[in-house]
């Protein structure tokens, strides 16, 4: 009994130590990326190439999802607003929901699933097939040549994708609200223009998506670089990227929302 308890405590302690060590390694890895980012900017073509893979190729899922989310917001929002006789405020509801919350958060979740998992799998497989080792053997730093361009590509792509998501969402809300249901077009756009603030709403949304971009891409490159070089190792790392990134986005969103949209900043 006592021996079992002691063993359980020892397992708990070693498990916690291992997690802390990995967290420490992830933090050092983040610093290493920042310190080795010179190549990603000096040879910006490397980063542009990754922006194509992480950002441009994610556009289809981002644009289609944004359109549908906006259309659903239009339907649901109008239904609720109409109960209070405020159907004309549909534009405000759609725009604020998307710009402040749904744009950054859903685009972030989709980005983690589409691009984050691909980054992890690619780096993990490069490690498993000794491509990373070959690069090191050729005296080329893989953090500078492989990791940093992917990291910065993710950080640059994420706010742009969130902006596209919000834009298509607003267009979806317009299609359903104005064209389908018959909300007054002038009221839809003018109320939106009057109520959406560039600094408090749009800039805060951009900051959110930038933070999500850093978090998702950091997790993705770290999981790929730290993946055991086996089929199960890469598959586990890819899964962890999606799960950890998604949880990180939701947790960070709560913290950022609390900081940005409550207290003195509340509109």
């Amino acid at each position: 009994m006592l021996a079992g308890l002691r063993q359980g405590l020892a397992d708990l302690g070693s498990g916690a130590t291992a997690k802390l060590l990995r967290l420490g390694f992830a933090a050092r890895f983040f610093v290493a990326i920042l310190l080795h980012s010179g190549t990603a900017f000096r040879r910006f073509g490397l980063t542009i190439r990754e922006i194509y893979f992480a950002g441009v190729l994610s556009m289809v899922i981002i644009l289609v999802s944004g359109l549908f989310v906006g259309m659903v917001l239009g339907l649901q929002g109008f239904e609720t607003l109409q109960r209070y006789g405020s159907g004309d405020a549909l534009g405000v509801l759609v725009a604020l929901s998307l710009v402040r919350e749904l744009g950054p958060v859903i685009a972030g979740l989709l980005f983690a699933s589409r691009a984050g998992s691909a980054i992890t799998a690619e780096i993990g497989l490069m490690k498993a097939t000794e491509q990373i080792a070959a690069m090191e053997m050729m005296a080329v730093d893989p953090i500078a040549r492989v990791v940093a361009p992917r990291f910065w590509a993710g950080v640059i792509s994420m706010p742009l994708l969130a902006a596209l998501f919000s834009a298509l969402g607003i267009f979806g809300g317009y299609l359903v609200g104005v064209k389908l249901i018959g909300v007054d077009e002038g009221a839809f756009w003018s109320q939106m223009q009057a109520s959406v603030d560039v600094r408090n709403d749009i800039l805060n949304g951009v900051i959110k998506s930038l933070v999500f971009g850093v978090a998702v891409t950091w997790i993705a490159v770290f999981e790929g670089y730290d993946a055991p070089p086996t089929a199960e190792g890469v598959s586990g790392a890819t899964t962890r990227t999606v799960v950890t990134s998604s949880l990180a986005i939701l947790a960070l969103d709560f913290v950022l929302t609390a900081l940005m949209f409550t207290g003195g900043n509340a509109k």
Binding site: T129, Q131, M137, A139
Partner: protein, 271 residues
């Protein structure tokens, strides 16, 4: 005056964890211009030895001098500077799968030099010509056979004319023709480019056919050394078991285990 060895390893020990050492007090010398084989069965520590020479792993004891540098005293910049004088052929080539054959071979030239594109093109074509694969310059690695991929990787490894070439199991998984081609290339590139080569392998005939000297490693120790002819005549039980491919001998057929009777009488755990 005797020339300084390209690689000098003196009483090197290493273990991933102190309780299970992989190498115990290994010493060897590799002379300039030679092709040296490090042989032994899988898991004996020969690849670990190669990684210590490449500065990938730090020996826990002993000294390693490579191309005149003490590897354990080098920082990461020093290790990278040393590696620019080395080339390594990986077991399965390790070509960059997102680049063409041409870009793979040009990789180091573009990363480490400011050569104009015309010159890079000519140098890449010369390297590909040396391995007989100029005709696949624009193909992707996924379009190559295993033997061709290994030859492209060899062209990439010698792209900047390294002084020391490391070959990690270069013959594994190749058909007899590709195997003969790779073996011949290792020898001819070594001699024509004035390199020194270390070939880690467990393929006896192919390795004996191209090397000048062989070190046999077993359980992390050098158990025999000599020229291929000397080793073929060796009465050392490990060497004759390995060279003749006998299933039992100093390297037992059975992995250490409880007695057969004890295992059969034990209650089933995983059935």
């Amino acid at each position: 005056m005797a020339t300084a060895p390209i690689v000098e390893i003196d009483k090197v020990s290493f273990g991933y964890d102190p309780a299970h050492p992989v190498l115990h007090g290994v010493s060897l010398r590799i002379e300039p211009g030679s092709v040296v084989g490090i042989m032994g069965q899988s898991g004996c520590g020969k690849t670990t030895l190669l990684r210590i020479i490449a500065g990938w792993l730090k020996a826990s004891a002993g000294n390693t001098r490579v191309l005149g540098e003490s590897v354990r005293d080098l920082d990461s910049d020093g290790i990278y500077a040393l590696r620019r004088k080395m080339g390594m052929l990986f077991q399965f080539g390790a070509l960059f799968t997102d680049m063409t054959v041409f870009d793979n071979v040009a990789f180091q030239m573009r990363e480490h030099t400011d050569l104009p594109p015309d010159l890079v093109h000519d140098l890449v074509m010369m390297k590909l010509e040396a391995v007989g694969l100029r005709g696949v310059a624009q193909r992707m690695p996924s379009e190559l056979s295993g033997g061709m991929a290994r030859r492209v990787a060899l062209a990439r490894a010698v792209a900047l004319d390294p002084r020391l070439m490391l070959y990690d199991e270069p013959f594994t998984g190749l058909d007899p023709i590709s195997l003969g081609v790779i073996a011949r290339l290792i020898r001819t590139l070594n001699d024509s480019l004035g390199q020194t080569s270390i070939v880690v392998s467990h393929d006896v005939e192919e390795c004996f056919g191209i090397v000048d000297y062989v070190y046999f490693v077993s359980a992390g120790r050098i158990v025999a050394e000599g020229t291929p002819d000397e080793l073929r005549r060796s009465a050392e039980p490990f060497v004759s078991q390995f060279v003749l491919g006998e299933p039992d001998g100093p390297i037992p057929f059975h992995y250490p285990a409880p007695t057969y009777e004890a295992d059969l009488a034990a209650p089933a755990k995983n059935a």
